[in-house]
Every structure is written in structure tokens, then in C-alpha cells.
Amino acid sequence: MILKEPQPSRVNAQGRPPAIAPAPKFARWWSEIARPEVLAPLVVGLLVLLLWEGAVRWLAVPPYLLPGPLLVLQTLIEEWSELFPSLLVTLLITVLAFLAATISGLLLAVLFAQSKWLERSLFPYAVILQTTPIVAIAPLIIIWFKNNTFAALVVCAWIVALFPIVANTTLGLNSTDRNLQNLFQLYGASRWQTLWHLRLPSAMPYFLGGLRISGGLALIGAVVAEFVAGTGGARSGIAYQILMSSYKLQIPRMFAALAMTTVLGVLIFVSLTWLSDRLLRHWHESALQREN
């Protein structure tokens, strides 16, 4: 249904042995792309797009019901000057909410890790925050921030993105190797030394896993909140464009905006995966290349 973007490789390039001769840039780029895990989804995507275009033409589906991918692409190029700034607004909301969620999530998890009682008493509220439907409370938050819709949108996206980071990092901080804990105790490590040199590094893979989930959720949170806000004016995000297009029955434009949002989500996920692989490449199973 959605434009397929080439899936950049999920596996880091660092762990592989260097090429025997310094290969030209294109050849290296090609060897990166021409791998089954990249080619297979690419081929599937192209096939789906072809089928979609063919079906729309063959059955003469009117574009206000389902536009073909070529028309969507054409609209995307035509409307780029209007859609892209909107996407940047949504991206800004997403990034701010994601950063806020990362910092607050990490701090909360560290706080929880300090005492079992703190965790027991506060964790349920983190769960409540997660399970409250954002669509339902977004109007309220927007009313509270009545002079600053942008801040309200960031808060909504932050609420959605927070929980995976808190939950994962707390789990990671509590999963420290027992022998290493004993070792730190034996050498008289202080609470902060243990946290800094042992528990936080141990929690790193969990934390990064949380980030990968939260990155996508922050985008979803931003889009949902924008839908609820229906905001106009200078700071109108991509969801506003989707809404307006659907009101005006500009379905190809709506599809173009939708495709942009999806690609943005994929890009966020891919860059966080890259970050995670990069940080863990020396030691964690998740970032190692299979030897067999």
C-alpha cells in the first residue's frame, strides 16, 4: 500500500573483514546493497507497487478512492514544498519528545534501581501512563497548554514514548551479573561507582532496545496528537496535511503525506538500530556478526 523505500542494511559493516583490495566506492556500495536481506524486501516492494499500479489501471479505480503509486509519487513531487515543511514540524515534535523521553526515562529507571520500594510504588503509575489512550487525554493536554499547542504536542508524544525506555532500562539495571556485583562489593565500590561502572553498562543493550521502540512511538504519538489538535497556522505538522487532504478529498496528496510519515518512521528506526549496533559492536550478541 505504501511506497517502499530501499531498506538500508540492519547489520553493521564494522565487524566484517576489510576487502582484500581497496574496492572502488561504487563496488563497495553495491556489495552492501546486493545481499539477500536487502534485495528480498526490495523485490517484494517493487512487485507490490507494480501490482498496485496495474490493478488501479486495469480496474479503472478513481483516484479519490485509491490512487496508483505513480500518481502518489507525482503528487509528492508537486506538493513537496508544502508537505516537507510540515514533515519537519512533526519531526521536530518527535525528536524533542524522544529526547525528553530518553532523558526522563533513564533518570526514572536509575531512580527505580536505587530502591526496590521506589520501584514498587512508582512503577504502576508508569504503566498507567502507558495504558491511558493518548487520543483520549490529548484534548485535555492541549487545553492545559492553551497558549502553546506545540508544547502540548511534545508532551503527548513524550507520554507515548516514555514507557518502553523506563521499563527496558529498569529491567537492564536489575539484570546485572551476580558475580560482578560481588566483585564490586569486594573491592568496596560505592553505590555510584557500581551504578556508573557496572549497572549502567549492563543495562545499555536493554536501554537501546527501549530507544528503538520509543523512536517509532514518539512519531506515532506526535501524529496522533496532531490529529486531535487539528492545529492550523505556521506550525502545522504532517498529520494536519493528511487531515486537510482527506477533508478536501485530495486522496493522492493524503497518500503522499502518509508515505512521507512512514518513511520517516523507518528512517528513525534504522538510525536507532545503527546507533545501537555501533555502541554494542564490541561486546553484545545483538550487534555481532554470525560466524557460521
Binding site: L186, Y187, H197, P201
Partner: protein, 263 residues
């Protein structure tokens, strides 16, 4: 060889769930001695080490540790090497000194000396996952030695290694011990290893964890490969195996489940 390095006096250890882990443990390790603890799983040999290290406290009785003035005088080597996977070999060995506030630059030569002792020069910047089991254990030993401890507590350090790595590390440990005169308490379930290394082999039994025999190995050091194949060596092993069997009888009556299922 006469003064006490570390000792447990009439120690009981009862876990929170009511299990009696240790009962009436009296064990005195003299300075410079290499003592092995052997026994079946669940006999509390690791708990003895934890009590000696201060990682657990006795329920009754007390710990006497005149050789331990500060927390650097005692080092612990864990069964699975217990290395930080995110840190290089050098950073792992640096850990005990880092926790005391010494920067890597300030103690670089000490770290190098510790790595040289266990023949790991050239692997400073490797990560644990790049090393074999035996090499990880060497890193773990280097980390223990970097503070120049008087007492070395080793909890089945070579238990997960293949036989060849094990006997090689045994010989190297003995050489280091003869050179530096540490007091070593060595937990193992391998009788041959215990006999080859030790001045004394302390045999333990399970349920409740207790000491059933204390066998001196009166064979002079340095001990070479010939000792491993000598008749005395076999005699010691047989003796200790017998003590183990007496202390940990297998129930013979058909109604009782075999001990392997209950322990």
C-alpha cells in the same frame, strides 16, 4: 607457615529459606598455604569462600582474618571469569584500582606486570568475547593479582575449562604461588586438581554442609608432571574419593530416591 591467615570458627550458615548451608565449620588456613575444598554440589564450598571474602555473614560463629587489613589484601576469582563484556582486557584488569580512584595512566605499569604474569601481553585491547575460556580465566586471575593481595580465594576457577587448559593453568598457578607465597583457598569438584595443587585437601559433605576430612598432601614443591602419574598421587586421590564417598553416601534402599534427584 605457622600463623593464621584466615579462619572460620564454629561457623553455621542458615539461608533465609531455612536451608542449613553450613554446620559447625572449623577451618584454619595458615599463611602461605594452598588449601583446596572438595565436595559435591550443594555442600557449601562456595559459601565458605563467600564467608571468607565477607560477601556473606555467618549465622553463628565468627571469621578471623588477621591477614586482611584492607579490601585489597584479598582477591576473589569467580568460576565464570566474571569479566565485564563491554570492557577491554586492560580495562577489566584495571577495575580494582579504578574503584580506588587510580587512573589508567597512573597504574599502567602495574597492569602490564599483572598481564605479563598470566602471559596475556598483546591482548590488552581485546574484548572478552574474542578470548577463549582459558584466556578469560587468565584475565580474571590478572585482575585478582593487580592489587598484590595476600589471600586469593578461587571458586572453581577452572571448572568450565577443557582438561588441557585446566592442567596448564594448574601448573602456571603453582609456579606463581611458589614465587609469591600467597595464601590460596581453592574450591573445586576435581579431586586430581585438588591433590596436584594443594598443601591440604579439605573434604566436605552436603546436607548439611560440613567438613568430613582434612587430608595433608605431603609432597614437596615444585611438583612436576611426574607427580600427576605417581603412585602416591593415585593413593591420595583414592583416599579423598573414599572420604567423599563416606561423607556423602548414596542411599541404597530402593524406596529412597537416588541422592542425585534430591540434592
Amino acid at each position: 607457615m605457622t600463623s593464621t591467615a584466615i579462619a572460620l570458627h564454629q561457623v553455621n550458615k542458615i539461608f533465609a529459606n531455612g536451608t542449613v548451608a553450613l554446620q559447625g565449620i572449623d577451618l584454619t588456613v595458615r599463611k602461605g598455604e594452598l588449601v583446596s575444598l572438595v565436595g559435591p554440589s550443594g555442600c557449601g564450598k562456595s559459601t565458605v569462600l563467600k564467608l571468607m571474602a565477607g560477601l556473606a555473614t555467618p549465622s553463628n560463629g565468627y571469621l578471623e582474618a588477621p591477614a586482611v587489613a584492607g579490601d585489597r589484601d584479598l582477591a576473589f576469582v569467580f568460576q565464570d571469569a566474571a569479566l565485564m563484556p563491554w570492557a577491554t582486557v586492560l580495562d577489566n584488569v584495571h577495575l580494582p584500582l579504578k574503584l580506588k580512584g587510580q587512573s589508567l595512566r597512573a597504574c599502567r605499569s602495574r597492569l602490564q606486570a599483572a598481564l605479563n604474569l598470566v602471559a596475556l601481553q598483546g591482548f590488552e585491547h581485546s574484548y572478552p568475547r574474542q578470548l577463549s575460556g582459558g584466556m578469560k580465566m587468565r584475565v580474571s586471575i590478572a585482575r585478582a593479582l593487580v592489587t598484590n593481595p595476600h589471600i586469593l580465594l578461587m571458586d572453581e576457577p577452572f571448572g568450565a575449562l577443557d582438561e588441557m587448559s585446566r592442567s596448564r593453568l594448574n601448573s602456571e598457578l603453582l609456579q606463581l604461588w611458589e614465587q609469591y607465597h600467597w595464601t590460596v583457598v581453592f574450591v573445586t569438584h576435581n579431586i586430581y586438581e585438588a591433590v596436584y595443587l594443594s598443601n591440604r585437601v579439605v573434604v566436605m559433605a552436603a546436607q548439611p554442609g560440613r567438613i568430613v576430612a582434612d587430608v595433608p598432601i605431603e609432597e614437596p614443591y615444585p611438583r612436576d608432571e611426574n607427580f600427576r602419574t605417581s603412585p602416591q598421587f593415585n593413593q591420595y586421590c583414592r583416599d579423598i574419593a573414599h572420604q567423599l564417598a563416606v561423607g556423602n553416601p548414596v542411599p541404597m534402599s530402593p524406596s529412597a530416591p537416588p541422592s542425585i534427584l534430591t540434592s
